[in-house]
């Protein structure tokens, strides 16, 4: 751990890394490689090199500040080791008391978004108004235009905060829906077992 630090001390990438860590400590949301390159007026490849140096320095178990790649960019967070101390001092207003209805609505918007309240209600089978309102208030989803026809309903999509709270690099990091439910095959197998037991 000491050698890379000593190396960058005599290396111009070290200065760039210091600028990048300065940007990350004041930013209010994850910064993309492009944003970091624009702000530092430096080469994206050099910014990447600086980021990988910082990732070593600010690694889990090594530092209380951890650099993570999340929501399409890079951001600092507290180490998991410090979670209990954080819980004593801060709140988690975004996810506290998230209802089952809100989670289902969130799943629908994340996978099918942008989508409207009527679309969510059609899939869930119950009105989604209060779930949608609570997700908007928490900043997990946001308006994203209206349905195409005139007088159409407002549509919603997930926000970068959603990706951040759930620790996703991007929406593409959500598991494929096909990988989630294996139970049809499982049901068939159990039925088959019963049938075989009866036959024998």
């Amino acid at each position: 751990m000491d050698s890379p630090l000593r190396l960058i001390a005599s290396n111009p990438v070290d200065r760039l890394a210091r600028t990048v860590e300065a940007l990350l400590v004041v930013a209010s949301a994850p910064l993309s490689l492009g944003e970091l390159a624009d702000a530092t007026e430096d080469d994206p490849e050099r910014v990447e090199t600086a980021l990988s140096l910082l990732q070593q320095r600010y690694g889990e178990a090594r530092s209380g500040i951890v650099l993570e790649q999340v929501a399409g960019g890079f951001a600092f967070r507290a180490s998991r080791e410090a979670a209990a101390a954080c819980a004593r001092l801060f709140e988690r207003p975004v996810e506290r008391g998230l209802s089952q209805a809100a989670l289902e609505t969130l799943a629908i918007v994340a996978y099918l978004g942008p989508c409207s309240r009527p679309e969510v209600a059609r899939i869930r089978g119950v009105a989604a108004d209060s779930a949608v309102a609570s997700l908007v208030e928490r900043g997990l989803i946001t308006e994203s235009g209206r349905e195409l026809q005139a007088g159409g309903a407002v549509r919603y999509r997930t926000t970068p905060l959603f990706e951040r709270v759930f620790g996703l690099e991007s929406l593409a990091a959500l598991p494929r829906l096909d990988d989630l439910g294996e139970d049809v095959g499982e049901i068939r197998e159990r039925l088959l077992e019963v049938a075989q037991a009866r036959a024998s």
Binding site: S28, L103, R190
Partner: protein, 253 residues
Amino acid sequence: MPATPVRELELDLDAFEGPFDLLLTLLLKEELEPREVDVSAIVLAFVELMAERNELDLEACGEFLVLISALLELKARALFPDEAAELGELEPEEAARELARRLAEYRRMKEAAAWLRERLASEGDRWFRLGPASLAPREERRLAPQDPEALAHVLRALAHPPPTVSLGHMALRFPPVSLFLERFRALLSRRRRFDFDAEVGDLSRVEQAVALLALLELRKTGEIALDQAAAFASIRVSRADEERILEWTARSA
């Protein structure tokens, strides 16, 4: 009605753990959402129970079919409240395919929601700052010149009537269980007993299934007594206090 293994069937579902008839009671009291109930797991539990017994209990199978179809119907209606009629206009095969497609879609979404919940738990020890840092410069937002026509345009769109939805085919509706609860209570306040089949004979099969659920609920709460001369014979429904009085009279006589 003799006790059958059906209502005592022990279930261990995600949303519920206990005997089948308690599940029905919770559904009827609307303390449990039908969409939370995994019907396939109930069917599996029943099939496994029947297999264990190693004898064919036709009566149990019959009762199970009635209850499970009522439950399925409840669940389908809860999932697609306004679209049953629309499905009704399709050919049966198409309707079945469409229903299966939507159920699969809903099921996948439920699984996605479960994944999100697990993720929330596993990421709960990642803390980060919400909002700006205390010693950060203030962000300035500047807006390019805008066209005022855009304002007129969005207001016109807001004044545009929404597409109308035809409600002409909404006749097909699933009656709430409470309707039958009230109806049977009213009936028993006027008469001491009535014949179930005669009372619901004119109704659709869906309505009959709901009526039967209402009957089971009333018996569960001790408001009525049920009596059936033989399997498949008509069910006689009587006030519970009526029966208690008769019993008491018989004992003291």
